[in-house]
């Protein structure tokens, strides 16, 4: 198998919740030392990770840091390298979402999404890559919205398309050194970020996201782990998401666009009539 050997040290941003925590749990179970980088550190979560680890000698540690602060992140990563060792697997999971139709989306919300999702990926990659050696792997968690746009997702799509662009360049630059780059593009997964978003999701976004399917956290984590184990460059968890990826590549834009536009139009028309009925 082309895949890497099991990583014995794993650095994860956004590892206190959602996909990041799901992955941290699995690698803790498999016996890896774990360093988590997140905005807030929850001691209960750390204790849970310690409880499920394979060996008592495994180090589970966490650093409170904002991924948008490149210097602080770099320092935290250096501390983790001293505490554990250089990462054999580095996963960037930290991400945020601000969904709103473009004209209503405030510029500072847009910037914030770019800062965390895209510049955060850059900062993490820049912090870990100098420590990484041949055979190790950097995984950037992008999204299906990194290759297929979604209604009211202007900022999120821009940030996640950007992550894909960044990842593709990094792969080209680091392949000669034996460091692999994986781009992870999950569809909707029930994580705290998505649960927050569901509170007022645009109906057109909802319909389009249904095309990519929704996965439970366990399903998504299992699929991502399998992709990382197999050493895949692009990891797309879920059958519907894979189908969407396939369509976005092989169907002509004109057809994809027409399908999407029809869905959006029907949802907008329905919203319009509901609003008309309400007034």
């Amino acid at each position: 198998m082309r895949g890497p050997r099991q990583p014995t040290s794993c650095f994860i941003t956004g590892g206190m919740s959602g996909l990041g925590l799901g992955l941290a749990r699995e690698y803790a179970r498999r016996g890896a030392d774990i360093a988590i980088f997140d905005l807030t550190i929850n001691d209960d979560v750390l204790r849970q990770l310690e409880d499920i680890r394979l060996r008592d000698s495994q180090v589970i540690t966490a650093y409170q840091v904002n991924v948008t602060d490149s210097e602080a992140l770099q320092q935290a990563v250096e501390q983790a390298v001293v505490a554990i060792s250089a990462p054999q697997l580095a996963i960037h999971c930290a991400g945020i979402q601000r969904a709103q139709p473009f004209e209503q989306l405030p510029a500072d919300h847009f910037d914030q999404v770019i800062q965390v999702n895209l510049c955060g990926s850059r900062n993490f990659a820049a912090a870990v890559l100098p420590h990484m050696s041949g055979g190790s792997r950097l995984a950037l968690v992008a999204s299906m919205a990194g290759f297929a746009a979604n209604y009211s997702y202007a900022a999120y799509c821009a940030s996640k398309f950007g992550v894909i662009g960044l990842g593709r360049v990094l792969r080209m630059e680091y392949k000669p050194r034996g460091i692999e780059v994986s781009l992870v593009c999950p569809p909707e997964v029930d994580t705290p970020m998505v649960i927050e978003e569901l509170k007022n999701m645009h109906p057109a976004s909802r319909r389009l996201k249904d095309l990519g399917g929704t996965l439970s956290l366990e399903q998504a984590v299992t699929a991502i782990l399998a992709g990382l184990d197999a050493g895949r460059g692009v990891i797309i968890p879920g059958g519907k998401a894979k189908l969407t990826y396939f369509c976005s590549r092989y169907l002509p834009d004109a057809i994809m666009n027409r399908v999407v536009d029809r869905i959006v139009r029907s949802e907008l028309a329905q919203m319009g009539s509901e609003r008309g009925a309400a007034t």
């Binding site: 770019i114 890559l129 009211s152 950007g162 360049v169 999407v260 536009d261 959006v264």
Partner: protein, 269 residues
């Protein structure tokens, strides 16, 4: 208002923007060039006026920094009030940086994001409400082939241009049926001042990969872009080799990446 088409071009004082300005001047449009340097703007506006098809055409330059989010909305509003709402806005202001990832400082990364992504976004935001209300208009985002595929040495540039691609795809969905067309323009390397400035310290791997696609002349590219804009194509990739490259990258991304990796290894062993 006159019946002449009103065209705004950001980054219109040089490179692809200026070449497009010359093209639209010859086709008899009223033009507003938006760029930072007042001197270069004046020269560009004079050059375009001399090419104008009729003496009634109004061609002028407006000094503005597209990343200046405080000033930009007021400038755009003033222009709309004075000259009318544009029919076509071409977002051509951009910057590039060619360096390997760890040699690209975070500040450069942020700058490219602000100029390439943020600047285009803010100009689009300034004209969209008017265009939507009128029910017509075109906004062409000048992105890059590097916005569709990763290129060695372009981590910051590709990230910013991929982000533009994502923004454009999302916007296109939102504006479908509104009468406003959003277009994505992905040229290969074009012989412009931006590229010339970069050539002095280009990363050899980048140079090698870009030579596979070739360099186009600004006027040739502008002609092809203008034709795509006229045909209201949603994605415009000027040049046969660029089109082929984009096609391969999209349909066979794995093969394409392995191929480029092999070529790079063969050339830079």
């Amino acid at each position: 208002m006159s019946s002449r088409k009103i065209v705004w071009i950001t980054g219109g004082s040089s490179g692809i923007g200026l070449a497009l300005a010359r093209h639209y001047a010859r086709s008899g449009c009223d033009i507003v060039l938006l760029a930072r340097d007042p001197g270069k703007l004046q020269n560009a506006a004079a050059e375009c006026s001399a090419l104008g098809a009729s003496s009634e055409q109004v061609i002028s330059g407006e000094p503005v920094d597209v990343t200046d989010s405080e000033n930009l909305p007021a400038v755009a509003e003033g222009l709309i009030a004075a000259r009318g709402l544009p029919d076509l806005v071409i977002l051509s202001a951009g910057a590039a940086a060619n360096d390997t990832f760890l040699d690209t400082p975070p500040a450069v990364f942020d700058d490219l994001m602000n100029i390439n992504l943020g600047g285009s976004r803010e100009v689009a935001r300034a004209v969209l409400p008017g265009m939507c209300e009128r029910g017509s208009g075109q906004i062409a985002f000048v992105c890059s082939l590097a916005g569709l595929m990763g290129i060695y040495g372009y981590s910051a540039y590709s990230a910013s241009k991929f982000a533009v691609t994502g923004l454009v795809q999302a916007l296109r969905q939102e504006l479908a049926g509104s009468g406003v067309d959003i277009q994505l323009v992905c040229p290969p390397e074009v012989d412009t001042p931006m590229v010339a400035a970069e050539a002095a310290h280009a990363v050899p791997q980048t140079r090698f990969l870009k030579d596979l696609v070739g360099t186009m002349q600004p006027d040739v590219v502008a002609g092809k872009i203008a034709r795509g804009i006229e045909r209201r194509k949603s994605v415009i990739i000027p040049g046969f080799r660029a089109g082929l490259m984009a096609w391969c990258g999209r349909h066979f991304p794995g093969l394409f990446e392995r191929g480029s990796a092999l070529l790079l290894r063969w050339r830079f062993k």
